[in-house]
């Protein structure tokens, strides 16, 4: 996908997808003139197959699928350095958010599953417990990702120092949280929100 010949035409350029990204992120990809400042300052460029400027470039060419197929968006640390320094005020961090959401909605064709998994578990945690329950989060992640021993050595240290709790905290607002999740799902079903 990365190096495949790119056909450009009104049909192959998915302008609708780009418009969605622009609506979600509230920023225009056309404003970018490819100076590369975002990629220059990005702490994660080295981990990405498409550095940030190229992500925008692919969007300019209507090549959302190429972006989603890669793992770049999942390697964005959301540090906002790009957005802060962009000479054209292209909110790249918001574009990354939008891309991740669209990938998430499409159940992610991305190669990067760990970050997706972590995000999924994190949000599930909110829905279930209201607050983060780190022990469960970590354990569930290790189970599902198959990295059974990951950070195992940290567990006892954290527990012994009270940095990780064995049980979750109770929260009176749980029904309200559930309602928020439900209402958002409802709105999306009705097409009132992206």
């Amino acid at each position: 996908m990365k190096n495949k010949l790119m056909h450009l035409s009104n049909e192959t350029m998915n302008v609708g997808f780009v418009k969605k990204v622009e609506a979600l992120s509230g920023t225009s990809v056309r404003r970018c003139f490819q100076c590369g400042k975002c990629s220059a300052g990005c702490p994660m460029t080295g981990f990405m197959e498409h550095p940030p400027n190229r992500v925008v470039r692919l969007l300019q060419l209507g090549q959302g699928a190429r972006v989603l197929a890669g793992r770049s968006i999942w390697y964005c640390a959301s540090c906002e350095t790009c957005t802060t320094r962009c000479p054209n005020k292209v909110n790249l961090a918001a574009i990354m958010d939008a891309l991740r959401k669209l990938s998430w909605d499409a159940d992610g064709p991305s190669k990067e599953s760990y970050v997706q998994l972590a995000n999924r578990l994190f949000i599930e945690n909110i829905r279930t417990y209201g607050r983060q329950y780190e022990l469960r989060l970590g354990a569930a992640f290790n189970m599902k990702s198959g990295q059974f021993l990951k950070d195992l050595m940290l567990g006892p240290k954290l527990l012994s120092r009270g940095k990780m709790k064995l049980f979750h905290q109770k929260n009176k607002n749980l029904p309200e949280i559930e309602a928020i999740f439900n209402r958002i799902e409802e709105m999306r079903k009705k097409g009132e929100a992206l």
Partner: protein, 665 residues
């Protein structure tokens, strides 16, 4: 014995840091013929110049040498000072002990020795120098403008408005040039013809402007202030004095399918034609190559229908000689065409783009005509092959330009902007179309230019692709464009309906021949050379000839108009004087020794050498000698080095002076 003064300058510390100026002055004082020598902190300052003036008076000096900076810097200054002190300015010389000595050497001993040597041989030069008087020549206050495009029009109007006579010579049947062909102009998108045609009419109606269209420069003689220009008026076959411009001839002409150059060959015209409706003058011309009357002797319809009887098949080319004092060259440019070209083309051709065989690959000027309301499609973007509206248009920049190994290394300067404009025009006219632009760099310096380009990208939704096109070929009714996007690092393929190439801006055909007639220099691309890239951007090295517009190098309209007005200002500066003074560094023939071999005449680049017959009182020819016209002589001295009998001498650089210098070494 000469009485020469030597003045050694410290130039602050610039010279004295590495050169022992006191020692140089002292040693200079010991040279035979030097009557006075001193050193001073700043010779070019007021007190420094006064020092020179005072020394000339007090020591009765008959020559002065200022050892200081380069003569290119201050020769004028010191000659003026010397002149004020009553010394002939040409007996004041400079020894360059700064640029050629103190700044380039570190060793104080060596530098001082060298400075002393420089003073020594320059003193010899002054000793053998002669008093010279500047040459004066009269000025004919009439200007010739070659080329009737926007550059020529602007220069002509400026000069004519200042009250001077102007002769304008245009090769085509109408003035207007390329600007008349354009649809809209960047960065304001105003209509080119709307701003151009009023100026064309102004030229035609101006009482101070004599307009020759369908005419070319045949020959140029003379020199600054006094040029004689022979203009060839090509036979129009229509008498301009009789023609009323009614146009009946054109409607009746049976030959109607001749591709019109003005529309880049995409519109049709008749054999008797005006290139475009707003032409100035509105007098038709018969294209003899395509006229049935001229080719087979049968037809003559135009003559029959012409009420005033203006059509004249017998008309011949005529030659007119105009005397002018200054010449503005404004011959403009042509666009490179990718068609396979004869050997002399500067560009090696673009076989990968099909050598012009694919009809829907057009150049930028053709797109201008397609987009122009007065163009062959009435302003609709329709492709040449089948007249369909293209939905995918690919623009390619830098075709021919910036391709050193293909022949042209320069940037054509206007393409980035006009391509951005094209994408906008296209988007305005074809709403559901998509424009793609392949580019290497977007070069948009200029007021409001970058903003304009960004507007094309951000608002008019042109897809700019940073990369070049490797190849194009026809597939069905599409053109497959194989390019790359270097920002992504992938190959890109687009099936285009129309491809517009921003081909290189080149010098006009025949620019080199005209330059040879004018005696001005041109670069390897046939663009005319200015005298100095920064400080004399409108002057030619040949005095009295000025440049305006794209004949000097690719230029957009604002730059062209600025330069044209600048050239006009230079002409007016010249015309502000009745007489011209120039340096008397000219060759003189010693008729006594001249044997009349005229080897000098063969090598003179200015044509300044003429034959002169010497007759005795009875009128018998004694001998033929060479004679140098001081007004024309440029002062290169090639004649002197060539002369076998050493009977030509260049004032200021005589053999005697140079030998004295060499011998002092």
């Amino acid at each position: 014995m000469s009485r020469i003064g030597v003045f050694v300058c410290h130039c602050g510390e610039n010279i004295s840091r590495t050169v022992d100026v006191e020692r140089v002055a002292k040693e200079a004082g010991e040279i035979p013929g030097v009557a006075y020598s001193c050193d001073y902190k700043y010779m070019c300052s007021d007190p420094g110049q006064n020092l020179l003036k005072k020394a000339v008076a007090e020591h009765n000096l008959d020559g002065a040498l200022v050892a200081a900076c380069s003569p290119r810097m201050h020769e004028k200054t010191f000659r003026k000072a010397a002149s004020a002190a009553g010394l002939n300015p040409y007996l004041c010389e400079m020894g360059n002990i700064r640029e050629h000595c103190s700044w380039v050497h570190e060793d104080r001993e060596e530098a001082t020795a060298k400075a002393s040597d420089i003073v020594k041989f320059m003193v010899e030069r002054v000793k053998k120098g002669k008093s010279l008087a500047p040459i004066t020549v009269p000025v004919t206050k009439k200007a010739l403008i070659i080329g009737g495009g926007i550059a020529g029009i602007q220069a002509a109007l400026d000069i004519a408005d200042a009250g001077h006579q102007v002769v304008m010579v245009e090769r085509e049947p109408s003035i207007g040039g390329h600007m008349a062909q354009l649809s809209e102009t960047f960065p304001t998108l105003d209509c080119s013809q709307c701003i151009m045609t009023p100026k064309m009419v102004d030229v035609a109606n101006h009482p101070n402007i004599t307009l020759y269209t369908y005419a070319e420069i045949e020959k140029v003689d003379g020199y600054i202030g006094n040029f004689q220009v022979t203009v060839r008026k090509k036979a129009r076959s229509v008498d301009e004095s009789k023609c009323t411009g009614c146009g009946v001839c054109m409607t009746k002409c049976p030959k109607k399918k001749i591709p019109n150059d003005f529309d880049q060959g995409h519109g049709m015209r008749t054999a008797i034609y005006v290139p475009f409706p707003q032409a100035v003058p509105n007098t038709p011309v018969i294209d003899r190559q395509n006229c049935t009357m001229f080719q087979s002797g049968k037809c003559g319809v135009c003559q029959k229908v012409c009420g005033p009887g203006a059509v004249d098949f017998e008309q011949q080319d005529t030659l007119t000689v105009e005397s002018v004092g200054a010449i503005v060259v404004a011959t403009g440019f042509k666009l490179y065409s990718i068609e396979r070209k004869p050997e002399e083309s500067a560009i090696q051709g673009y076989g990968e783009f099909g050598y012009g065989t694919i009809p829907d690959i057009i150049d930028g000027m053709t797109f201008e005509r397609l987009a122009s309301a007065s163009g062959p499609t009435g302003g609709r973007i329709l492709r040449p092959s089948d007249g369909k509206e293209p939905k995918q248009v690919v623009f390619i920049q830098c075709v021919g330009s910036r391709a050193r190994e293909k022949g042209i290394s320069y940037c054509s300067k206007v393409c980035c902007m006009y391509t951005a404009k094209h994408t906008m025009l296209y988007h305005h006219k074809v709403h559901d179309g998509q424009a793609y632009v392949f580019y290497m760099d977007a070069r948009t310096p200029g007021k409001g230019y970058d903003e304009f380009w960004r507007r094309a990208v951000e608002e008019e939704e042109a897809v700019y692709i940073r990369g070049m096109v490797s190849r194009m070929y026809q597939r069905g009714d599409k053109i497959v464009v194989m390019g790359s996007d270097t920002l992504v690092g992938v190959q890109v393929e687009i099936e285009a309906d129309l491809v517009v190439m921003a081909t290189a801006v080149q010098a006009q055909d025949g620019a080199d021949l005209l330059a040879q007639k004018l005696g001005i220099s041109y670069d390897k691309y046939n663009f005319y050379s200015e005298a100095h890239a920064k400080l004399k951007p409108v002057e030619c090295a040949t005095a009295g000839i000025y440049l305006a517009g794209a004949c000097q190098g690719p230029k957009d309209i604002p730059d062209t108009v600025s330069q044209a007005s600048a050239a006009a200002a230079k002409v007016m500066t010249l015309f502000a004087k009745d007489q011209l003074e120039r340096d008397p560094v000219v060759a003189k023939v010693n008729e006594k020794y001249c044997v009349g071999c005229l080897a000098c005449k063969k090598v003179c680049p200015y044509g300044a050498v003429e034959e002169r017959e010497i007759r005795d009182r009875q009128g018998n020819l004694v001998k033929v000698v060479a004679n140098v016209n001081p007004g024309v002589c440029g002062g290169c001295g090639t004649c002197q080095a060539t002369c076998p009998s050493k009977s030509v001498e260049l004032d200021g650089y005589t053999d005697e002076q140079i030998m004295a210098m060499i011998e002092s070494l």
